[in-house]
Every structure is written in structure tokens, then in C-alpha cells.
Amino acid sequence: MRNIAIIVGRELTAYFATPLAYIFIVIFLVLAGLLTFFVGNFFARGQADLQPFFTFHPWLYLVLIPALSMRLWAEERKSGTIELFLTLPIRLYEAVLGKFLAAWIFAGIALALTFPMWLTVNFLGNPDNGVIVGSYFASWLMSGAILALGAAVSAATKNQVIAFVVTAAIAFVFIVAGTPVVLGLFQGWAPDRLIRAVAAASVFGHFSAITRGVIEVPDLVYFISIIAALLAANAILVDLKKAD
């Protein structure tokens, strides 16, 4: 535990030691605002909720989270610090968890800084704050799933650009799998079971289920098991590829 905390601390400091953290947060906030107010028609809808804000999160994360995760292992491998890092008296899972948690906490900080949005709806009307809290939680879980994916991909390459592109591509598949457009493609010819399987595998489906206001066990299990499986893959990839 102590080692994980130390690694999280180092990683978080590293984020804020470069402009990366500030650029990321600013762009995240600006994009989140633009999408909510201009694309999501926040005012025209006339409803005091944050639905237009959360709807765009999968797409926002699709672009921004891989930028956060791409450096996690690729940078260590490129600069050779991985050799220093992994010959310190720590266990591999501590290294993997520490790096992931730091990125996840950072994503949480960026997300938390959208709080003026929440203040705004409360000022304008009487939103269901329970739903909003649940949606924030779902959004954070979703960012964790994409981060875990990005961390695993980052462990497989020395090249951060490759890590970014591959992560975004895989995340895209997982996000769109549950959208009506994609499910429509399967409608009519594919067996129902396949359609349900595609919908069940989709990040989008589970995310929108929670943002509608119901936190159900299967949705939580979905995100947590995805994160756990990807972190395990991350550890295996680090071990396999560290010496290349």
C-alpha cells in the first residue's frame, strides 16, 4: 500500500511538473462547456439537469483520455527509466496500480473541476442531484476503463503516438458498439443474442444506463471487471515487453 501511494504521488507530481496537466484540464473544461452549451442545447431544452453535459463524455474521453494514458509506460520504456523503476524493491502490481491510480485520480480532478456546471443547474432550477452525483461517478468509472485500456496499450509500445492512436481506435469501437446507429446495423439480420451481446459489451450502454439515474450492479460490475482485466493485461505486457 505504502509503495502504491508513493508511486501515485510521484506520477501525480510528474503530471503537474509539465504543462501537460494544465493544458489537459483547460481543454477538457473548454470542450465540455462547448459541447454542453452549443451542441447539447443546454438552455434551449429548458430542463434543469446535466444530461447534455454527460451525453458527450464518451466522445470527450475518446480524444482526451488516450492523451493522458499514452505516456504511462511508453515514456518509461523509451527513456529507459523503466529499468530503474522495476529494479526498485516494488512488486509489479504495485507499479501498475500506482501508475493507473495516478492517472485516474488526475482524470477525477479534471472532472471535478466541471463543478460550476453543477452549480449552474442548481441555480437555474431544481435538478435531481442524486442523478448528477451518479452520473459523475459513472463518468469517472468510464474514464477509468479507457485509462486502463490506454495503460495496457502504452505498455506494448515505446511510441506514444502509436499508443494514442491504438487506444483511441479500440475505445471508439467499445463506445460506438452500443449506440443506436451501430445496433441498427445488426437489426434485422443478426440473432437477438448477438445484438444483446454487442450492446452489453459497449461502454456507451452501461454509461447511459447510469446517467439515466439508476446505478445497477451489472453496470458497476462491467466497469470494474473491464478495469481489472485490462490492468492484468497491462502487468503481463509490461513484463513481456520491458526489455525490448
Binding site: 508513493i6 508511486i7 507530481t13 509539465t18 527513456s79 530503474l84 529494479t87 524493491p89 526489455a243
Partner: protein, 312 residues
């Protein structure tokens, strides 16, 4: 303190390290020599637990690096090849991080960091990002990191690479000063370094140990070992060569023209010292010698002979 047992590492069909075994007791500084790609770094990576060996293992203070990696890693201070360090951190932050991971905290961590900083002389750059440091300072930060927890075993992969002559001298002094308390392995391709700091040297090429001995034993293997260098006036060499070549103690006489000028190298036929014989002869024959010196031998010569024989 450090025991390497039959280490083997294969990368596909390539055998990078082939059955390497040696032990390093406390107080010894082992120089690990070899051409590039000989398997020096790969061996060090296996000793420190970064790479898993294909076969064999390493015991560090009695802990098997394979079975008890955490206990073993605690006993090692390691400077990886190229002295990697987090570029965005300052040395102070970096050493802080390593000290915490190494289980130190509070006052103790501060004391150890201060000690290492003072020993390695990195005080002036302590708060500059590592990214902006010169190669020499970066290397020193890497060494400071390896020394932080006062490890019993030190593995330094090219500790003086990229340092200027003064810094090299400093680094060697530091290594020598620590030697009595630790088992130290340094890799290098600078032969002078072996003489300067090592109490024992291993030459490795293509993953195999070719030679294992003290620097003196290495010198003894040189064909120049115990040869006598004679500086003779111009025009006199033919006569001198003829007289010397006739001696039963002399195997051959060669003319050399090197950085030190023109001279004759007289190779002994046996282990008997040649210098007194030649000195006496010179007096009798009334040669006006400018130099008379017994050669110790040349390490680069030994190195080339040993590694070239293996390549053939």
C-alpha cells in the same frame, strides 16, 4: 555477498549470456570488461532482477533474485546503462522518491540524501530539472540514487561514461572509498579504469567469461609483459639489435615508433628479469641509452588478444 550461478540468457536463437558464474565477496571491486554487445549489461539486468534469466540465478546477500526478488533488490544499488532518470523531476525530487520507495522516511531519508548529495557533489544542481543537466551530472545523479540506501551490493553499468577526466577521477575515488564495505561490480570498456579501481577483472565476449583475474594477472598475459624498452641514439639500433638478439635471454628485438618516440622493444625468452642483463651490457658496450624501462604489459593488447581469439 554476490553469487552468480550459471546465468544464461537467450533471445530467440541469440545466446546473449552463456553460462556465466562468479562470486564477488565484500571488499572486492569487480571490473566487467568486454566489447559492445558482449553481454555485460544483460548480465547486470539479470542480477538486478530486471530480466528473468533463461537459466541459472543470482544470489544477493543470500537472497535468490528469482525467488525473493524484493529482499534481493533491497540489498542492491543499481545504476542502469545510460543512467536513466525521470527528466521532469529535479534530482532532489528524484532522490526523495527513491528514498521513500527504499523504505526511508522523514529525518533518515533527509540524512541519507544529504550524505549522497555531498559524496557525489550534486548539490549545485539539486533543484534543476534532470532534463537540463549535463551528461556528467545526470550520471552522478544516477550513482547517488544507487548509493542512497547504503546497499551491500553495488552494480554500476558504466559509471564513468560521459564524465570528463576530473569527474572520472572523482568517481573512481568514490568507488574506491566505498569498496571495503561493499561488493561492487562495474562494467566498463575503459581499460585504464580496471587498473584504477578494480581488484579483479572479468573479460566477457559473446556471453562467455574468457578471463577472470586480478589486473596484475591480466598484465602478465600481455606479450609486452616484462619486455624492456630501450631508447637508443639514432643510427645505433642496428648494432644494438644485433648484440641483444645474440643473447640467450632474449627472444626477439623489435623496433617501435610510437607516441614516445623511436625505441627498441626487447622480449625476454624466459621469466628471468631482462633489465639487469641489458643494463650491464649497455655499460660494457658503452651504449648511450635514453631510456631503459620494463614494460608492465598492455591491457588493450590482452583485451584484443583474448576477445579476437574468441571471435575467430
Amino acid at each position: 555477498m554476490l553469487e552468480i550461478r550459471n546465468l544464461v540468457k537467450r533471445f530467440g536463437p541469440l545466446v546473449a549470456v552463456d553460462d556465466v558464474s562468479f562470486t564477488v565477496p565484500k571488499g572486492e571491486v569487480l571490473g566487467f570488461l568486454g566489447p559492445n554487445g558482449a553481454g555485460k549489461s544483460t548480465t547486470m539486468k539479470m542480477i538486478t532482477g530486471f530480466l528473468a534469466p533463461t537459466a541459472g540465478t543470482a544470489l544477493i546477500c543470500g537472497h535468490d533474485i528469482q525467488e525473493k526478488p524484493i529482499a534481493a533488490k533491497r540489498c542492491i544499488g543499481y545504476l542502469p546503462e545510460g543512467a536513466p532518470a525521470y527528466p521532469d523531476m529535479t534530482p532532489a525530487e528524484f532522490l526523495d522518491f527513491v528514498s521513500h520507495i527504499r523504505g526511508m522516511s522523514g529525518k533518515e531519508a533527509r540524512r541519507r540524501i544529504e550524505h549522497a548529495v555531498e559524496l557525489i557533489h550534486i548539490g549545485e544542481v539539486l533543484h534543476q530539472p534532470i532534463d537540463t543537466l549535463s551528461k556528467g551530472f545526470r550520471r552522478r545523479v544516477g550513482v547517488a540514487q544507487a548509493l542512497l540506501h547504503d546497499p551491500e551490493v553495488l552494480i554500476l553499468d558504466e559509471p564513468t561514461d560521459g564524465l570528463d577526466p576530473n569527474q572520472k577521477y572523482e568517481m573512481r575515488k568514490i568507488i574506491t572509498a566505498m569498496a571495503p564495505e561493499k561488493a561492487i561490480v562495474i562494467s566498463t570498456h575503459l581499460l585504464e579504469e580496471v587498473e584504477a579501481v578494480c581488484s579483479r577483472a572479468i573479460i566477457i565476449a559473446r556471453g562467455r567469461i574468457l578471463l577472470d583475474g586480478t589486473p596484475a594477472e591480466l598484465y602478465a598475459r600481455s606479450r609486452y609483459h616484462n619486455a624492456v624498452r630501450l631508447g637508443v641514439p639514432l643510427g645505433a639500433d642496428a648494432r644494438v639489435t644485433a648484440v641483444l638478439a645474440a643473447l640467450p635471454e632474449v627472444a626477439t628485438v623489435e623496433e617501435v615508433d610510437d607516441g614516445e618516440g623511436h625505441a627498441l622493444l626487447v622480449f625476454p625468452a624466459s621469466a628471468r628479469p631482462l633489465a639487469p642483463v641489458i643494463a650491464e651490457l649497455a655499460r660494457a658496450e658503452n651504449w648511450r641509452l635514453t631510456t631503459l624501462r620494463v614494460e608492465r604489459g598492455r591491457l588493450d593488447d590482452v583485451f584484443r588478444a583474448v576477445t579476437a581469439a574468441q571471435a575467430a
